[in-house]
Each structure stands twice: as structure tokens, then as C-alpha cells.
Symmetry: C2
Subunit: 681 residues, 2 copies
């Protein structure tokens, strides 16, 4: 026990960060390709850096203001909460930065490696994903450990760390999501459709921005998102564990408080071992190799968890045995994989839903849209049932603490599952690089087969993101209800009903705002690309020589997408924070409880619906591009492209941001609960 509290989390966090550093060096040591490739890569690196710097500058204003607010808050705030908040925000930003930094450098090296072999390319792409995975879990465990064990903050103060992470995650997801889709739509609509040049063609001024977008949206955004879930689920479990603890015992000596941190810590070791099993040179086995790594890590984690949950014997209080805790973790881990597999079914090219959409594309755009929407809506059913089973089982074993612990279990192998997830965008970028640098077709074929698998593993990643968001938000919600004291949170209390209606409405409003934001940002991009095609003489003859007079102005596109995404991310972000604060202050803690319940129920559905509809449209288009229903250039393909374009903001902006909305609103509510209670007295 002593070892667990004082040493294990420190050691594991250290191992994770060292591993991230070592693997990053390994990635960087690989050859970076010829001059053209390096020049393109550095344009992407510069663009991504420029975006993140702009974003972080803007967010630092918000962070300072919100931090000052926390500092002066009479209840639930204070200096320590503010410091934890700043640290959470900084750690989240840092994780995003490192992920982006590595991914932009790994992509070009993956391309170079793909000239030789599939195995080498897979290794680099996956390694770069692992760097982010390790950074996220390392910083997460380290942050909590520093504040809880190092500085002896109380849990309410540590919660500030989670809030900081959530706030940055929301803006990163929304801002990055708007950027990437605006660039994507701009590049496709003007380049591919109007000018008739292929995707990832260097003559397209938006092509660099498009590649930058993949890095800031899919990599940095996703990293921040899951950092937040990871940290949030651990802290929520700790709060619920503290409520169960023996009186007079310090929080850090309570086994139920330390358990989630220990599980997260050993998950790092399990993940690292898992990564050694990811290797193949056979195209048909990439998916299997990644999945094997994940399963190995899960099994090792379960072995560790079995030891950790049982080592203290009946030390967890009456009616709560080590096995109860172990099974809660196991059911969480299993349900994450199950939701991932269900997501895969609804979005994979080989399965019925995507095939149906592709079939409907033959009758035009409208039927493509309708069937995609229907697939997305239908796809809510099974994940929700899995979540409900997880809740029922874990609750029956360990009460609300069990639900929270299941969330920790689901995210315990994040080190490797994030690696599996984040490798996709790197492979995607590597393919774009092969195209832009004019490399031989077999290079693109190798990266394409990596990318195709990346789409599937991304689905699994999304399953984890949604499932863990639902359980984490629920855990915070339990903490909220426990902290609200003796109030009537019954669903027939009209205050709860009003809160539920408002809460259920927020995901719809938020989704609408983010979708419209993409539209507006894309418009700005379209105008700029059109302008360049019109005004830069000889742009169509450009062959890629650096400094050529007819070179497209890539930076202008990056700047425009950056500026418009910054502008458009403010309102949705403000909504996410203002809604719970205003309702908590002027509607009271009961109405806010209803709001959290309503937004959780409706928000999970919207997140699944939008992510899966978008994923399914994307792959329906790709299925047709393999030659089905007339292949590229057919009417069915045109219809499928429309579906894919509608799906883009669904799956890469609104859908994933909804996860964070739910978590952020719950964290804010729990953090400010003492203030709301005081304010309404």
C-alpha cells in the first residue's frame, strides 16, 4: 500500500514520459526523405505550429480570466484550485503540442519508410501515435500525483486540474475541428471539383492547410480530448471513493481514492508492453497487429488490476471485495472494446450499413443523405445498451464508485489505444506527402493500406472516446448529486424537468453552432483558393520548385483557416461554460442537476449519431472509389461525395466536440457546486 501511494504513480508517469521521449527520438532518427518532401513537411510543420501558437495565445487569455475567476470565487475556488487549473490547461496544451510536433515530423518519415517496406512505415506511424499516447497518460498521471500526493491538495482543488484540461480540450477540438474541415472543404471544392486537379496536389493552395488540419484537428484535438477523459475519470472516481472512505483517515491513505490512480499507472506499463506486439509486413494483417497490441495490453492490465484490487484484501470497506472492484474495471475495459467494435460495424466498408449507403448513392444525393442519417441514428442503439449494461453491472458490484471505476478501466490502456488511434492521421498525411512529392505509386499504395486500417482503428478510438465520455460524465454527475446534499433530484420535480429540457437542447444547439462555424470558415477558405487560382499567374504549371514565382501562397490559406477557426470557436466554447454557470447560479443546483442529466442523455446520442453517420458516409464514398456502383466519376460517386462532405463536420467537428461538452459541463458543475449552493442560499 505504502509503495502504491508514494512511489508507483511517480515511477509509472516517469516511465511514460521517458518512453515518449525515447520513441520520439527513434521516430526522428528515421530518414526524412528528399528535399521536396522536407520542404513540404516543413511547410506543414510551420502551419501547424502557427495554428497552435495562435490558438494557445487566444486561449491563454481565456485561461487567465477563468483562473482569476476561480481565484476570487468565495466557495469552491481559491489559489490552489487556480494553480491546478492552470496546470491542467498547460498539460493539455503541452500534450497536444507534443502530439502535433511528433505527428508532423513522423508523416514525412513514414512516407520515406514506405518507399522501402510496409513494416517500416507502420512502425514509424504507430510509434508517433504512441508518443502522443505516452505523453497523455504520463502527463495525466503526473499531474494528479503532483497535486494530490506531492502538494497534498484536496480533491476539490485537484478537480481544477481536470477543469483546465477540459476547457483546453473543448477549444482544441472545436478550433482544430473547424480548421481541418474548412481546409478540407476548401481544398476539395475548389481544387478537386472546380479546378479538376487531384487530391493533395501541390498546385492547390489549400493542400498544405488541409494537411495541417489533420494534425491540429485529428491529432492535437483528439489528444486533448482523451487527456481530459483520462484525467476526469480518475478524479471523479477519487471523489466518489473519498465519500466511501473511513472517517478520520487522510484522503491519500484511502485505498479507494488511490486505486484509480494506481490502475492508470500500471496501465502505462501494460500499454508499453503491448506496443511491442504491433508489427507486421503483411498488408492484410495491419489491423490484426494493432488489435493484438491492444489485447495484450488489456490482458496485462487485468493481471495488474487483479493484483491491485485484491492485495488489500477486505480493506475496501464492508460489502466491497477486491473482486467486485476487479470486475468493475474489467467490464469497463470490455465495454470500451465492444463499443469500438460496434462503431466499426456501422462505419466499416465491409459491413452492411456502409454498403447500404453506397447502394442508395445510385439514386442520388437525397437518398445518400437520408440513409446516412438513418444509419447514424440507428447506430445509437447498441452502444447505449452496452453502456447501460456496464452501468448496471458496475453499480451492482460497487455502487456509483463502480461506474466511475469502469470508466477508469475503459481508459486504462489509453497509452496504446491512443497510439492505435493517432497513427491513422499520420498515415493519412504520409499518403498526402507521397502524392505531393510525386513518389512512385507503390508508396502511395502502402500508405493507403495503412490509412484504410487507420479509418477502422479510428472508429475503435471513437468508441472509446464516446463510451468513456458517457461514463466519466456520469461519474461526475454522481459526484455532483452526492455533493448537492439533501435536494430533490427526482425526475418529477419540475425544476429537474426544466433543467433536463435545457440540457437536452444544448447538444443540438452546440452541434448547430459548430456546423455553421465550419460552413463560415470554409467559405472564407473557398474565396481565398479561388482568388489564388485567379491571381497567381502560371499556378497550374507549378512543379514544386521551392521559391518559384508561380508557387501557391500556402501560408495565406493556413492563416485564413486559423483566423476563421479562432473566431468561430469562441461562441460554442462560451456556450459550454456559460450554460452550466448561469443555470447553476440562477436556476439553482436542482435545475443544474437536471441539465446535466438531460445533456448527458441527449448528448451521448448526438455524439454517436454524428460520429457514425460521418464515418459511414466517408467509407461509403471510399467503397465506391474501389470501383463499386460505377466507381470514381460516376453519379453514385458524386452523390457519395456530397454525403462525405456533410459527414465531415459531423464526424470531425461537432460529433467529437459533443463528448467534451458533456464532460466539461459536468466538471464545471462539480467544481462550482459549493459556490452555487452558497449563491442560492
Amino acid at each position: 500500500m505504502e509503495f502504491l501511494t508514494s512511489n508507483l504513480p511517480w515511477i509509472c508517469a516517469g516511465i511514460a514520459l521517458v518512453a515518449a521521449f525515447v520513441i520520439q527520438k527513434k521516430v526522428m532518427a528515421a530518414p526524412a526523405g528528399n528535399d521536396t518532401m522536407q520542404s513540404l513537411a516543413s511547410a506543414i510543420q510551420d502551419g501547424a505550429r502557427a495554428f497552435l501558437i495562435t490558438e494557445y495565445k487566444l486561449l491563454s487569455i481565456f485561461v487567465v480570466v477563468a483562473g482569476a475567476g476561480l481565484y476570487v470565487l468565495p466557495e469552491g475556488g481559491g489559489l490552489h484550485t487556480m494553480i491546478a487549473f492552470f496546470s491542467g490547461a498547460f498539460a493539455s496544451a503541452l500534450a497536444g503540442w507534443i502530439g502535433m510536433h511528433t505527428a508532423t515530423r513522423a508523416a514525412v518519415r513514414t512516407t520515406e519508410a514506405a518507399r522501402e517496406s510496409l513494416a517500416g512505415a507502420l512502425r514509424i506511424a504507430f510509434n508517433s501515435g504512441t508518443v502522443m499516447g505516452m505523453t497523455v497518460v504520463g502527463l495525466g498521471v503526473l499531474g494528479i500525483t503532483v497535486f494530490l500526493l506531492g502538494l497534498n491538495y484536496n480533491l476539490q482543488q485537484v478537480l481544477g486540474f481536470s477543469f483546465g484540461a477540459s476547457a483546453i480540450a473543448l477549444f482544441a477540438r472545436v478550433g482544430g475541428g473547424i480548421f481541418t474541415k474548412a481546409a478540407d472543404v476548401g481544398a476539395d471544392l475548389v481544387g478537386k471539383v472546380e479546378a479538376g486537379i487531384p487530391e493533395d496536389d501541390i498546385r492547390n493552395p489549400a493542400t498544405i492547410a488541409d494537411n495541417v488540419g489533420d494534425n491540429v484537428g485529428d491529432v492535437a484535438g483528439m489528444g486533448a480530448d482523451l487527456f481530459e477523459s483520462f484525467v476526469g475519470s480518475i478524479i471523479a472516481t477519487m471523489i466518489l471513493g473519498a465519500a466511501l472512505g473511513a472517517e478520520g483517515v487522510a484522503v491519500v491513505d484511502q485505498p479507494l481514492v488511490i486505486l484509480p490512480l494506481s490502475i492508470a499507472a500500471v496501465g502505462i506499463i501494460a500499454s508499453i508492453i503491448g506496443t511491442f506486439f504491433v508489427s507486421t509486413n503483411d498488408e492484410s494483417k495491419i489491423h490484426g497487429a494493432l488489435f493484438k497490441g491492444l489485447i495484450v495490453a488489456s490482458i496485462i492490465l487485468l493481471a495488474f488490476a487483479y493484483y491491485l484490487t485484491n492485495m488489500a484484501g477486505a480493506n475496501f470497506g464492508e460489502n466491497l471485495t477486491g473482486m467486485d472492484l476487479f470486475y468493475s474495471i474489467a467490464v469497463g475495459l470490455a465495454s470500451g472494446v465492444a463499443i469500438g467494435k460496434i462503431t466499426e460495424y456501422y462505419t466499416a466498408m465491409e459491413c452492411t450499413p456502409v454498403k447500404t449507403i453506397a447502394e442508395q448513392a445510385k439514386t442520388g444525393e437525397a437518398t445518400t443523405i437520408i440513409s446516412g442519417l438513418a444509419v447514424g441514428m440507428k447506430s445509437t442503439a447498441l452502444p447505449v445498451i452496452v453502456i447501460c449494461i456496464t452501468i448496471a453491472v458496475s453499480y451492482s458490484l460497487c455502487g456509483t464508485y463502480g461506474i466511475a471505476l469502469a470508466a477508469v478501466g475503459m481508459l486504462s490502456t489509453l497509452g496504446i489505444s491512443l497510439g492505435v488511434d493517432a497513427y491513422g492521421p499520420v498515415a493519412d498525411n504520409a499518403g498526402g506527402m507521397a502524392e505531393m512529392a510525386g513518389l512512385p505509386p507503390e508508396v502511395r499504395e502502402r500508405t493507403d493500406s495503412l490509412d484504410a486500417v487507420g479509418n477502422t482503428t479510428a472508429a475503435i478510438g471513437k468508441g472509446f472516446a464516446i463510451g468513456s465520455a458517457a461514463l466519466t460524465a456520469l461519474a461526475f454527475f454522481s459526484a455532483y448529486a452526492a455533493g448537492a446534499g439533501d435536494v430533490n433530484l427526482s425526475i418529477d420535480n419540475p425544476q429537474v424537468v426544466i433543467g433536463m429540457f435545457i440540457g437536452a437542447m444544448l447538444p443540438f444547439l452546440f452541434a448547430a453552432m459548430t456546423m455553421e462555424a465550419v460552413g463560415k470558415a470554409a467559405f472564407a477558405m473557398i474565396d481565398e483558393v479561388r482568388r489564388q487560382f485567379r491571381e497567381i499567374p502560371g499556378i497550374m504549371e507549378y512543379k514544386g520548385e521551392k521559391g518559384a514565382p508561380n508557387r501557391p501562397d500556402y501560408d495565406a490559406c493556413v492563416s485564413i483557416s486559423t483566423a476563421s477557426s479562432m473566431k468561430e470557436m469562441v461562441m460554442p466554447g462560451v456556450l459550454a461554460i456559460a450554460a452550466p454557470v448561469l443555470v447553476g447560479m440562477f436556476g439553482g443546483v436542482v435545475m443544474l442537476g437536471g441539465l446535466l442529466a438531460g445533456s448527458l442523455a441527449a448528448g451521448v446520442m448526438m455524439a454517436i449519431f454524428m460520429s457514425n453517420a460521418g464515418g459511414a458516409w466517408d467509407n461509403a464514398k471510399k467503397l465506391i472509389e474501389t470501383g463499386e456502383h460505377g466507381g470514381k466519376g460516376s453519379d453514385a460517386h458524386k452523390a457519395a461525395v456530397v454525403g462525405d462532405t456533410v459527414g465531415d463536420p459531423f464526424k470531425d467537428t461537432s460529433g467529437p466536440a459533443l463528448n467534451i461538452l458533456l464532460k466539461l459541463m459536468s466538471v464545471v458543475s462539480v467544481l462550482l457546486l459549493p459556490f452555487f449552493i452558497e449563491f442560492n442560499k
Copy 2:
């Protein structure tokens, strides 16, 4: 008081039915046009009749089975409940039948009248809507009065009447909705797009089915829907009123039980008076004329309500004055109008949202879809706030009884508001008839201006439908919570959470199923229309002579749409009834409570989102057809047509059916609550 309980509802129900009869005669007395028109009209009448007969035959099997189930139910059922259930189902079917019968006959007479003047056409179209309005309120008040006052059934038994009405309403909405959209899509896609002939062209084999669809979907389906809301809100209020009543006093002598019925009864008188104010010969004033009728009826209703709520003085129990009740009614009525006006804003051609969609249509299908979805999602915010205010105000005045009473207030002028709503499809059909019969263009212009206003008033009608569905479901929900006894319905109870997740998922699943049903039925229709164009020689030269050898086989299209809509409506209908029954039996009353809350929260949003997105796309297309952004035939128009086609199942099938889903699930739950309690003992 004596007069109210024993005479007023009988008298008013009688007046409504007599008024319906008299107005129907008046409609029928108008000239029915030339031979071509009469022949086309009789084809539509036959088709609509054939559809309803097929539908009712199929539903009678369901009704008999469900009725038998109620009869043998150990708790919450019995002979009386079964009889009330049969009567509710029959009354709902009858209201739909009368509405359809009148509408199909009124359309051709509206066309004929439009040859002379706008005023005459308006009068006939509006009168036919009023026939349905009066039939619905007359049968509703009569049914409740017969069982409660005539046969002295208890309220749980009278609830069977509401369940019967709900069940038929769901199938009528879903079945009619599938029929009308399958026919619409089939007619448009093959006729307009592939064959290049105008809308409503008699050479199109699906054109009669398309017109039949307007009658069975928009008229009969909507009639059944609002009949159900009307009856449901009254009975739910009665149940809550009985719970507040003095002990030892018979239910029928409780003023709070009789009040909702009395309000509904005097609403009939107010509505009839209101209809006299609907008249104009000026195109620009149609909307004003209809709105004036509605406002006059509302003012008169309020005067009656003031008298009724205050006549018994402080008779309503302590802390509940007549003015409290009056204000609850008034706030309900006002919020119905407010939601209607908000709906109008989001869907009217003159307002920003629709203009934005039309603007986006210039950049193609994808942006049209995205902006329409965003408008629909955004449009949930204001109506939800209005509903929340209504809940807060009415609850603070009269507790949960006040919320239910607000729903009654909202629907109290249904006699005229349904007339305002149902006149739209009649005007639409009249325009189609003018086209098919080749009448001079000014006839079509007159019916078009009626139709355009009809689209706006339909928006108001939809606002009433959604608002009243939300409040009625909430009233039933309160009755459910009250009846569930001493159970923990708190939102932090995991059983409630599980129920909420499942409940929030159901509207998504239901919407997906109904959308897919439309798709499948439309496919069957498309095949048939293509077959006729291919196989009937000289079909393109057909000039409209009856019995000509090259006449399209209209009946075949009607039959195919009927058969496929019957097939496709079964699964969604079964889901709506099976879900609460299964969860109530095997999850228990607490989980079912959570299910109702979750489905209410998510379902209201989905209903608003889908209805308004569909309405906005429809009018964006119409706006472009007025010449904006290139007008008919432009690329923007093509994109807008795609939006409209996606919106069709949104606004006419899935969206409105969601309202009924919510109400039906609540009624089933309240009705079977005693059984669920017993079953889980």
C-alpha cells in the same frame, strides 16, 4: 357546477358535431367542377378511401389483440378499459376518415371556386379544415363525457380511451407519412427529374397517389395526432386533479377533474365564433384573416375560462385560487401561439434561416444539407425555453396540475387551430387539381397563394402539436410518478440513468426506422412508375381522356404505396408499444420512469429539429423557385431540391410521428403502471 358536470360537455360536443355536419354539407353544396376535374377527384377519393380501408383493416387486428390483452390484464385492465380502448381507437379512426372524406371532396371544389375568386376558394378550403377540427374536438369531448359522466367509468378506465386514440394516431401518422412521402418522392424523382414532365402532370402514374398521400398523411394523420393530444391532455389533467381532490367526494363532483373537460367544451364554442372572422378576398391578407380567427377564438376562450375558473370561488382547495387556474390556462394558450410563431420564423420564406439555406444552395447540395440541419438543430432552443417558462409558471401557480392544465389551454381552441392547419393540404391539392385539369393559370395562382399561406399556418399547427405533445407527455409523466408510489426516481439512481439512456435512444431509433421505411416504400414506387413509363405505349401523349388506352395505371401506384407503407409501419409501431412494456416489466417502474424522462427530453428536440429542418428546406426551395439565386433549373435550385427531398421524411413522417411516440409511451406506461407494480412484486 351542476350544469357544468351534467350538461355543458354534452351540449358542446353535440354543437361541434352538428357544426361539422352543417359545414360539411355547405362544402359539398359548392360546385364540383367539370368532368375531368370530377374524374380526377374521384380517383383521389377512391385512392384515399382504399388506403384508409386497408389501414384500418390491418389496425383492427392490432386493436383486437391489444384490447384482448387489456381485458385479461390482472391489474390496470379489465372490460371497461377494453371498451374505452376500442372506442378511442374507433373515434380516432372516424375523425381521420371524416377529415379525409371532406378534404378530398373539398379540394376539387376549392379549385372550382378559385376560378371565380380567392375569397370563395379560401372559404371552402378553410371550411373543410373546420369540419375536421370540429369532428376532432366533438368526438374527443363526447368520448370522455360518455365514459366519465354517462357510464361512470373511473379515470384509469377512461385512460383506455386515450390509449386507443394514441395507438391509432401513431399508426396513422407513420403509415400515412410513409405513403405520402413514398408517393411524393416517386412522382418527383421519376416524373419531374427523369421524364422531365411538370409536377402534378396527369401523365405521371404517381400523381394521383401523390395527391392521395396529402390527404391520408397531412389530413387524416394530423387529425388523429391532435385528437390524441386533445384527449390525452384532458384525461391526464383529470388524473392529476383527482389526486388533489377532497376525500370521499366522487370524481365527477371534483371541480379540478371537471375543469379540463369544461374548458375543452367551451373551447368548441370559442372556435366556432372564431371561424366567422376568417374571410378575405385580398391575397396579402389570407394569413391575417386566419390569424384573426385564431386570436378571436383565443380571447373568447379566455373569457369563458375566466368565468369557469372563478365561478367556484375558493372551491379548488387551499392555496389554489380561480385566478391561478386561469393564468395556467392562459400561459398554455399563449405559449402555443409563441411556439407557433417561432416555428414560423425558422421555416418562413421571409425570414433569415430559410434565406440562409437558399443562399447556401448556391455552393451545392452539401452546404444546403448542412445549413438545413443546423437550422433545424438551432430551432430547438427557443421553443424549449418557451416550454420551460410555461412549466415554471404553471407549476408555480398550481403544481403539476397546472402544467397539465396549460396543455389543455394550449389545445382548447383546437377546433379552429386544426381548421387553420388542415386547410393547407386542401389548398395544395386544389392547386394540383388545377394543374392536372389544365385550368387557366390564374386559378393556379390563386390556389398557390392559398397554399403558400398554408405552409405558414401549418408551421403554427406544428408548433401547437409539438408544444402540446411535450406538455401532455409531461402531464402523463407526472401522473406516472404520482402513481408509482414511494420509489426513488432521482436522476442519480442508476436505474433511472439506464432508463434515461434507453429513453433518449428510442427517438433516434424510431426516426431512423421511419426514415428508412420511407426510403424502402419510395423505392417500390420508383420501380412502378419507371415500369409504366416503359411499358404503357403512348403514355406521354395522354391528354386526360378517361378510359384512354394510354392512360397511366394510377391505381397500381396507390396500391403499391399502400402495401409498402402498411408493411413498413409495423416495426416502428411495435417499437413504440413494446419498449415501455418490456422495460416496465423487466426493468421495473423506476427504470420505466427514467425511460419516459429520457425519451421526453430527447424526443421533443428531435421532433422540433426534424420538423423545422424539413419545413425550412421546403421553403428554401420555394424561395429559389420565386426567382432568387437563379430560380428554377439553376444549380442552386437543384441543390435545394435535394434539401427538400431529405426534408420530406423529416417533416412529414419522422418528425410528427415522434410527438405521438412520446405521448403513446407515456399513456401506455400510466395505463399499465398497476400491472408493472404487481408484476415486479
